[in-house]
Every structure is written in structure tokens, then in C-alpha cells.
Symmetry: C2
Subunit: 413 residues, 2 copies
């Protein structure tokens, strides 16, 4: 059990004001934010964050992909940094907490260190990662995993990634220079809103993230036979939608009944020719599988393919799978989880272990260094929406856990 | 058992040539026909058919909705007519047999009567019904069941029904004058291609239609809750697509397992928001139910609504039904079915009883007079397609059954 340093404490009002001020940039009518990566609003927000970092006593630089790295110097300059951070870009209609809380809580930690004239042993870094909501380029470049085809990053409206990076002081040609390693960052801890309803449903203040799930995504094609819905008797049909419905339920059943924390979703389904009086001849549907355990994900895929093969035989359809995405899970470092747990206990905050089923910058950071995440509740589990909300008190509780965790691991790392 | 008059026989070549010649009007590249009702091609085809009727010794008139009525006079002029017929309009990409076979076989019957100088007791009518493929206006007007709102009949490209009827010598304002009753038409027998695959699958030459099914159509709305497919655990979801899949399978199971000849189809299904990473919050789907038994249809609807209520509870969704269509079934007259059966036996043609699950002009005619239908096989069950095909021999067999049935009932009616 570690001791909390009672003199160091997050300033809830200051954090709340920073969140509100940042949310003015790209503000939407109902309290949300529109601030896509590399947009003018993003550039404006980056400038504000850099200023705040400097005011908190940090040296600030940005790398080839526009990641902003603020460093609060430690006493042992040669030591690898302890890092936190997240992102300030948003989806087109986003909330003010997703990403921003992690960045601004990191800056708030630096402010507390500065105002108490505290120096850690390690350098303390706050990183603002580029383009989390779209390509995840920022953290992937730091992890050395960013695909190098520039066309993958072209904006929907047509802007090239080269131009995007110029807007934020980056340089596509030097992408590789953004890569960092364990000798530079000893641990990365990200604070984020949950974006789901687990903490709220279980009435917990803090989520101790066990890892960020891996993901498989498939597109499935089911080919039946188009027939007149009037003239074709039931036993002469090859109904692609009946087959699809069986598959949807098999996937749901495996998601619900398999031992584990997996989620399995068919979110997208298109019927052809989709006429009220035509037996469906074609269904295309998506499968999205997420779990912390790659082994369990592979088991689920095997089972789903077995079910699909049986359904194809029973319905006279042809079912084929096309893999679209495979992201490996990243597990949180158990020692870091234990420290966060101890901090929660010392602060008398209720907590719960849970996986993150959404992707985060920490997922890539965890590929080369020790990673952990701290979640705070999202009202009604809502995110990527103007209705996204986490109270000032909840934000401050998350930041407090971040601060005390950094202080604690500064001794051990 | 009735005796076939061996001297009266369909001329297979003549019928085949008529089918081919009519198919030249609106001919498509791969053997199909594009001849929408009231189009220039329809007008041209009507003129050809009228000429053929006249050449076969029929007097020809047309009514207020453009139905063409050819009459081959009988010996007892005051007697109600024995009628046959069908339509010569097509869907935009149609075949050459759907509808046309019934009209041209009727004219072929008149030709045989004329060339053998045979007079029936009854007047013999061949009716070409207007707009079967779209509004079914022609037969509905004769049955006195045509809706009188002209907007219901406006063509997709904007032409009014008034203008359409002018093109074919009709007169919208006198719609009501097209109505006829049992004192004018004692029986109506329609020959048609099956448009399904039952006869072919069972290797039968003639289908003795037991009736034309009734139809219920509903739109169903299933409201769940939109959630992130990553962050929402399986047990916290209200997945509208899981509910929809259960309903699709329940409808299919009722269609397959209920004792009866019903078909039950979900042909149309739309998922919202339809994103791969969003738990579906809304599904709209269609239900199409058809059966000869109105009682069975009502049973099916009751069972489907019960299933839906249970599914709503189990999945946490709200499911609502909106009735879009209700067509009452029309049963074939048993005495006419028996006569057709006897004719098949005498002609050594294999036959099978089956319902018509597609709508036909005979459905409306059966609402005010005795009705029967004769089916001949459709290759691969295909219709409303350029691939629609029934061989010259099969067409002639159907026409032969029509001829002999008319001769037989001329004695009884």
C-alpha cells in the first residue's frame, strides 16, 4: 500500500475551466464539439494546449506527425519518461470529454507539480496524439506501426496527409522519426471517459482498465436465389435473409454465452433486392468481434464459421467471409493496474476492473512500453455525441487518480 | 366423364406464331418484352389483337377502361357469356408468355371454332384486361371494385389515368360503365403460365388452380437502442437486428410448419444506423403473407404478433405493426376445377392442384362470377424476366385444355 501525498491535489475548478475553454474551439449548438484532426479548429486548439503546457513549466515540441509532446523535466534527466496524454481531435459531432480529458488532466498534473515546486525523478510527458478519431496516425507513428501509404490517410474531402501535417508543423517525409521506444518512455497511463455504461450501471467511480480489446471485422456475403414471394412455396426457397437471421442469432448467442468478456455485433446488414414481394437473394453483413483474449477471438471465429457452414447447408445458400480488420489486443501492465487500485483505495474511490472495448492511443503505446488506462463514467454510456457528459467532480477524480499514480510509480520505475 | 370432341383441336403452330408476332412489339434484346400498359407499344399490340379477334369471327368492342372484349356469338344470344382472357401489358423487363398466352389461347379457341364452323350455345368472350401489371384497373373495373381516385393510377413518369385511357379509347369519367355482372358472364377461365416452379418440379403438364391467394402485407418497426458495438457489453444491449432476426425466423417457421399452403416472406429489411460498429437501434421490415384460406391468414397474423410480443420482451425492444395491404382470397369454382380435371384425363395430360400465389385478372372476376384458372409450367419457375419460357407444346397443351373446358361447360352452364 502506498501513501498518498496529501499536499498534492488536483484543482477541480481549474480542470473544469480548461475543459470548457478548449470546448469553445469548434463548439456546437448543444454543447458538443466539431474539431476534426488537422482542421483550422484543431490547429487553434493545439496552440492553446501548447500555451497551457508552457505555462505549466513544460518544454514543448512536436514530432513529424504533429504529436505535441510537453515535458516537465525530472531530477534524473537521463531516465526514461513517465507519460500520459490522449487526443484533442473529435468526430464530426463529438463531445468535449473524449480525448480532451486525458490531455487536460495531464496538463493539470503538471500544473500541480509546478505550483507545489515538485520535481519527479523521471521526466513527465503529456502527449497530444494526432488524428486519433480517424487514422490513429499519431500513436501508431510513435509505436513504429504506421502504414506508410499516404493514400490511407487522405481526408474525406480530399486533402492529402502531407498537407495535413504541414498545417500542424509535421513532415510526412520524416514519419519514421516519430518512433520512440521503451528507453524513452518507461510507462504510459491514459485517462479517458469510459464511452460505455458499465461504471454508471455498477455505480463505480473509477475504471481500472485491464487492457484494450483486439478486434476482428469481417464482411459476410450470403447468396440465395431470388424468387417471387407469392409463387415460390416455402420448401423451394433459398432465402438469404433467413440464413442471415440464423447467422445473426448464432453470433449473438456466441457473444452472450461464451465464457469471457467478448462482444460480438452485426451492426450492418443489407438485403437484396429488398422488395416486399421477392425472396431475398443476397445479404451482406458485417461481423465485429472484440475481446482482450486473442485466443478467445480465434475460438469465436472458428465457431461462427462452423455455424455458417451448417446454416449454408440447411438453407441452400452460399456463405463466404472476407476479413477486413484484425487488431491485436493490448493488455494493461498488471503492476500499473495494482498501483491504480491502491490509489483508488487510498482516495476512497470505488473502482472496477474492465476492458476497454473501444480503441485508444494507449493501445499502440502498449505495444512497446508498459501501459495502463484509467476510466471515469460516461453519463448514460453516451459518447461521440453532443450528449457526452462526465461531471467536473468525476473528471477531477480521474485526474486525481492519474496524479497519484504518476507520483507512486515515479518511485518504482 | 365428358367426351372430348376429337375434331376440335388447337393449332400449335398458329398459336406459337401469334405469340412470337405479338412479342415483336416492344421486343427486348434477349427475347423479352417491354410493353407497359397504355404505352405506344401497348396501343400497337392492342390493335394487332383486335385485328386477330375480328379475323377469328369475333365482334370487338372496348370499354371505359380500355378492356378489349371480343365476342364469338353463340346460338342462344340471350345467354350469359363464357369468358376467357388475360392481359398483354408487361412489366418493364418482362417475358412473352405472362398474360399474352391467355389472350392468344382465347383467340386460338375462337379460330378453331370458326374454322370448324362450330357455334357454342353461349357467347364466347376473350377479354384483354387493362393494366394488369400495375393497377389491375381493367378487371377491377369489370368487378366494380376499382378505386375512383385517379391519382392512384398516375404513371411513374407522370401521365394521368385520364390521358392513358384516351390513348386506348377509354374514358375515365365513365369508369362505372365497365362494370359487369353474373348475368353477363357466367364463368371466367384464365390460362396463364405458372410463374413458379411447382409444376416443373413435380413434372406435371397442367396446373388446376384451386384459387388465388389472399394477401396481407405489413410494415414492422423494431426500436432498440443505439450503442457502441465496442463499449456496450452483450447484456446491456437492445439490439433491434437481433430482435428482427428472431422475428424473421419465427415468420419463416410459421410459414414452413403451419398446416396449409401459406407462404410467409420477409423480403424487405432496413437496418439503422447500419454501421459496423454500432448496435442496431432500428429495423424496418416487411411481412408478406399469402394463402387461399383467410382463416389461416388470420391465424398466422395472430401467431406472428404473439411471437413479436415475446421477442420485444426478451430483447428490450419495441415492435409495432402497420397493415399495408389486405386482399381477400378468391376460390376457384369446384365444378369448373372438376371439368378441367376431366379434360386433362381425357387428353392424357398429367395435372396437379395448386393455388395461385400471384395475383391475376381472374382474382377480380371470381368476385362476381364462377372462376377457374389453368396453369402451364414456367421453365425454372422464372417470370417477369427475359428468361421466362414455356415451350410451344406446353402452350398448346394449355390452350387445348382451355378449348375442351369451354366446350364441356357450354353444355352445363
Amino acid at each position: 500500500m502506498i501513501a498518498v501525498l496529501p499536499q498534492l491535489k488536483i484543482n477541480q475548478d481549474r480542470l473544469e475551466h480548461s475543459i470548457a475553454e478548449l470546448a469553445e474551439i469548434g463548439k456546437l449548438p448543444n454543447g458538443g464539439v466539431c474539431r476534426p484532426a488537422f482542421s483550422d479548429k484543431d490547429v487553434q486548439a493545439r496552440q492553446l494546449v501548447k500555451t497551457w503546457m508552457q505555462e505549466a513549466g513544460m518544454s514543448v515540441r512536436s514530432d513529424a506527425v504533429g504529436n505535441i509532446i510537453g515535458t516537465y523535466a525530472g531530477t534524473k534527466t537521463e531516465t526514461a519518461a513517465l507519460a500520459t496524454g490522449s487526443h484533442i481531435d473529435t468526430v464530426p459531432v463529438g463531445g468535449r470529454f473524449d480525448g480532451c480529458l486525458g490531455v487536460l488532466a495531464g496538463i493539470e498534473v503538471a500544473r500541480v507539480l509546478q505550483e507545489t515546486q515538485t520535481r519527479l525523478r523521471h521526466p513527465f510527458e503529456v502527449i497530444v496524439f494526432s488524428d486519433e478519431e480517424n487514422s490513429v496516425l499519431g500513436c501508431k507513428a510513435i509505436a513504429g506501426n504506421a502504414p506508410t501509404d499516404p493514400e490511407r490517410y487522405r481526408r474525406k474531402e480530399g486533402t492529402s496527409i502531407q498537407e495535413c501535417l504541414q498545417n500542424v508543423g509535421g513532415d510526412w517525409e520524416n514519419l519514421h522519426t516519430a518512433k520512440r521506444d521503451r528507453s524513452e518512455i518507461a510507462a504510459f497511463i491514459e485517462l479517458h471517459v469510459e464511452q460505455g455504461g458499465v461504471l454508471e450501471a455498477n455505480n463505480k467511480q473509477i475504471g481500472v482498465v485491464t487492457g484494450i480489446v483486439g478486434q476482428y471485422r469481417y464482411m459476410v456475403q450470403i447468396v440465395g436465389r431470388p424468387n417471387h414471394a407469392g409463387t415460390t412455396p416455402m420448401n423451394m426457397r433459398k432465402d438469404a435473409l433467413v440464413a442471415a437471421s440464423q447467422l445473426v442469432l448464432a453470433i449473438n448467442r456466441l457473444g452472450v454465452e461464451t465464457i469471457g468478456d467478448q462482444v460480438a455485433t452485426v451492426g450492418h446488414l443489407i438485403v437484396s433486392p429488398n422488395g416486399t414481394n421477392v425472396v431475398p437473394s443476397l445479404v451482406n453483413l458485417s461481423i465485429d468481434l472484440r475481446d482482450l483474449s486473442e485466443e478467445n477471438l480465434q475460438y469465436l471465429i472458428t465457431e461462427i464459421e462452423k455455424e455458417a457452414a451448417a446454416i449454408a447447408v440447411n438453407t441452400g445458400t452460399e456463405i463466404s467471409f472476407d476479413q477486413k480488420l484484425h487488431v491485436l489486443p493490448t493488455l494493461a501492465k498488471p503492476e500499473l493496474m495494482a498501483t491504480i487500485t491502491d490509489v483508488c483505495k487510498n482516495l476512497n474511490l470505488s473502482y472496477e476492473y474492465l476492458p476497454s472495448r473501444a480503441g485508444h492511443d494507449a493501445q499502440e503505446m502498449g505495444r512497446f512500453t508498459d501501459m495502463a488506462m484509467i476510466f471515469v463514467p460516461s453519463l448514460n454510456g453516451i459518447s461521440h455525441s453532443e450528449e457526452e457528459y462526465t461531471s467536473p467532480e468525476q473528471c477531477a477524480q480521474g485526474a486525481e487518480v492519474l496524479l497519484q499514480t504518476i507520483l507512486a510509480i515515479d518511485k518504482n520505475y
